[in-house]
Symmetry: C2
Subunit: 365 residues, 2 copies
Amino acid sequence: MAVPRSALVLSRALALQRAASSARSLSGSVRNSPALLYRTHGEPVQVVKLETLELPALGAESVLVKMFAAPINPSDINMIQGTYAILPDLPAVGGNEGVGQVVEVGSNVKTVKVGDWVIPKDAGLGTWRTEAVLNAVDLVTLPCDISVLSAATLGVNPCTALRMLSDFEHLKPGDTVIQNAANSGVGTAVIQIAAAKGLHTINVVRDRPDLVQLTDRLKAMGATHVIKEETLRRPEMKELFKLCPRPKLALNGVGGKSATELLRHLQSEGTMVTYGGMAKQPVTVPVSALIFKDVKVRGFWVTQWKRDHKHNEEALRSMLDELCSLIRTGKLSPPSCTEVSIEDFHKALDNAMKPYISTKQVLVM
Amino acid sequence: MAVPRSALVLSRALALQRAASSARSLSGSVRNSPALLYRTHGEPVQVVKLETLELPALGAESVLVKMFAAPINPSDINMIQGTYAILPDLPAVGGNEGVGQVVEVGSNVKTVKVGDWVIPKDAGLGTWRTEAVLNAVDLVTLPCDISVLSAATLGVNPCTALRMLSDFEHLKPGDTVIQNAANSGVGTAVIQIAAAKGLHTINVVRDRPDLVQLTDRLKAMGATHVIKEETLRRPEMKELFKLCPRPKLALNGVGGKSATELLRHLQSEGTMVTYGGMAKQPVTVPVSALIFKDVKVRGFWVTQWKRDHKHNEEALRSMLDELCSLIRTGKLSPPSCTEVSIEDFHKALDNAMKPYISTKQVLVM
């Protein structure tokens, strides 16, 4: 069902397309694109619908992109639920990352060319659709010698992992990083990037039936130690710190008790960076850790980083180059993914919201 | 009662004196000094006793100091209770700050001369005594044109206040600082130093019978706004932020709910610095404040700062000069003090531990 044009007037995501359509495409033909649209905030399986959008004509500054694949991230879900820090005007196309190929460019476009692989520079583009007319300035190119799944999942989690390992503590080979949610998209990227940098990682996961297999999988990625949440409170931590130094950096995707326990094992003057709050509980910091251990409690949001570096193309380019080089040398693999056709989005959304699902749902177009 | 010498073998504070006594004083006479000593950790009124210590002979690197005055700070109490982060070997003389005058110097001493006013460079010297033989390198001179009370209370609270206002956020005139425990030693120093720097301060105090008088007193010191803890949760905060910008810096001496409320009013990318935990509850930080507001949660301990700058005499000198200059121009007054003779130490310790006591107990020798 095509969205009536009147309904789209307030849509920021679609307004982007409008702005891009100051000239008709060369062919002049009208193209339609299936897209996963939501008109109200709510539970994703209830509010997200597969609809057919009419593509606007190609403007001088815009490009037509054929999407290949786009993952379902926790922040996409929260955005649809209306609980995320930034929300698009409605109706909006879901999805904030993904990779596509440029198939047509406007007359003034210099930064990308037909055939280029592109990913969004910022959140909010709406990637869950088969084709889109987008402003060229909102896209950044990727080399096409990495896998589609690597490219589709590069812009959020590996970027978050790399920045957190780079921007808070000066880490050198042999130093230790501790993290919870070690099996998450960010967590597995941290394991691999840290291993490539010669860092020890202590990886905390929740107890589960397949813990042995999970441990093996994370160790195969380069995890130095994999422990259960409960172990954080046990004397065996002392034994562990005979094998590697206490961590300078703790990465927290959970909050609550788990975060407090990470803090407890930090070196003096170490930093804990929070990037997620899966437990939906705040971070509780003992006063003595702040005063007498001088621990630093910080947060990181990759979307803000990208916005802060909007006018520093070089910073984004150099981060993506570093990640692609790790991918090419086999040091950074995409998360284990379940590819789902865009028509089966209901199943994908369902799975994406289940706890303990270890594979990322990726919509393929 | 003199302390048997055998009992002193393990005392770090007194061992300092021993180390200083490699040569006999010129006069060769034995001198005694009353001191407030504790032999076990426990409740101060029970374990602190007034005893007479034999002063060691003056070594080549040491000086004889006649103490003028020494305050009772919360950290002194915690040190006696055995709950502080650093504890002296026992028996130990109480007190970590205070001012005295040099009355005799060892043959190799170059940094201080007879007549100089001196304060300890670091915690742990044991200032609650009438005279002490100390290593010259453990002391720093103060100009003698400030009051004894200003000098006796300069080394901990005003130093803490100045460092917290200087080292965490780049504040310029017109910026705002919010703090709880505004009536504490650190709090009143913050009010005055901030006012001298042209900063707005929002000062949070607990509700109390004499709130109007307290508010007047803090405003007379330069406080821009004085509010009750409850007000932090009320809509009138919005009105307040029409009068001054949201704070870049929050100073927390309380912890618990009070700290969380301070955080809530911080600007994006602002910093909260914790220097005390009067409420004996941890600091609870919403995950969203860390990720989406990028607030920074830090701690400060002036003792650690002094130790970190042990080999940078210039940093300590320049901090003390800045504070003395504020004192001389009438911009920084000592806290309101109750002077108590060292013989009446029981009363002083008792008062120092009462809640809502607005005056600092200072032992005079």
